[in-house]
Symmetry: none
């Protein structure tokens, strides 16, 4: 997804709520977008953006809260300590392989699993509407570092 499209989404939302278009929000959104293959935490976003600009951690949290309310990003909790954030791209993507250490994630699509899920629901007379599957573990890099 192009950043311009994401920015546009944010601008729309800001207009709708009658808020102001601030440079900081764009910077924070861009950081999230640039590292969208990871799930950055607020702290990690802060570390990225404070280098170039003078942005406080409070602003990062406030921007993330705004993005959530705009449905631009989503808050996740893999381990007990830190919230991580991901950009919500258009459609839902249900299946993830997630590194519990660095937050890296890989989307997984496996038709055999999808079929089995359907089967399981059917066996219990459930009408399946949606699903979520998350596999937690250590990615290769984090395994080596430990």
């Amino acid at each position: 997804m192009k950043f311009a499209k994401l920015k546009n989404q944010l601008d729309l939302c800001i207009d709708q709520k009658n808020l102001r278009h601030s440079e900081q929000r764009y910077i924070i959104l861009k950081a999230l977008w640039e590292e969208s293959d990871k799930h950055l935490s607020a702290e990690e976003i802060y570390d990225r953006v404070k280098q170039d600009e003078d942005i406080g951690i409070a602003t990062v949290y406030r921007a993330l809260k705004l993005f959530k309310s705009c449905n631009i990003c989503k808050e996740l909790r893999f381990n007990q300590n830190v919230s991580r954030y991901e950009i919500k791209y258009g459609t839902e993507h249900h299946d993830h392989l997630i590194c519990v250490n660095c937050g890296k994630y890989i989307e997984v699509v496996d038709s055999k699993i999808e079929a089995l899920q359907e089967q399981i629901a059917e066996n219990h007379d459930f009408l399946l509407q949606n699903h979520k599957m998350e596999l937690y573990g250590l990615c290769k890099k984090c395994q080596q570092e430990m």
Copy 2:
């Protein structure tokens, strides 16, 4: 599950680790067990146990950490703020079929799915630690009522 069985599980684990059998641990375990249809937080457990006995919140946290390491309970995070704990009965139960209307849930264990999950992790050089699969839909009863 009878409390005696749970207590026994704890005793075994305590022996294995060469720790001491303390009354506080049993009291905390019992509180968790008595409210096992809820997911209590550390604070809620503390509120329950401090009435009868003089137990500190630190002891509750320490006991919960022990229980986790004994595989007797599991830490969950539904909302962003508080950890909640549930007793792990016997086998692992990661997979749920959840009715989006009435909240009913069924535990699902499917070895074919488990095997596929392992396979997927392996394909991506992940060391799998845990997983969560939730299938959302309408249960039979809610389908009929609609």
